[in-house]
Amino acid sequence: AQTVTQSQPEMSVQEAETVTLSCTYDTSESNYYLFWYKQPPSRQMILVIRQEAYKQQNATENRFSVNFQKAAKSFSLKISDSQLGDTAMYFCAFTRDGWGKLQFGAGTQVVVTP
């Protein structure tokens, strides 16, 4: 079985600052995918960034980057130059190689203040 843990229920950050969200997971699989999803009040899950476990290089998408530590089973998300539109719930998710059933963490609420 796999578990995904997000230990920060809420994070507050000022505009233009940087915030880091933590995620740890537990799996016995050797190949898998990890994701960060953003869920604004509209409820639609939006993919922020993804990482394939066999790739050592950390994924980056514009202001979003991850720190993937495979041995430690850690997958943190860094949001740089935070913007008001980044305010949302952020979920870490896991899927093993295959057809892709996602397992989500409990989420971290990010609030960006002016």
Partner: protein, 115 residues
Amino acid sequence: GAGVSQSPRYKVAKRGQDVALRCDPISGHVSLFWYQQALGQGPEFLTYFQNEAQLDKSGLPSDRFFAERPEGSVSTLKIQRTQQEDSAVYLCASSLRQAFSDGYTFGSGTRLTVV
């Protein structure tokens, strides 16, 4: 369509009532997933379709929950004899192919409130 469409957006049901939630995936998407998201929690997997075949229903919480996708496009999640613990947002996601690497598109969900 341009995205995954779910209807209704909100549904209030009296306890014991049957409900049907609709998901219209992106045209041509083979894979379709249903998730249940309780208030303040992350989504939990319910069931998975590849075209019209339901390949995994291990997440359905009870036999009151039933999902179908008869023609491999639109899917319906049916909940019989609703109970208060069924109150949640029900999310649908679709993907072009079986392989996850194509990525998912989620709908905006249906918020079900059982009173």
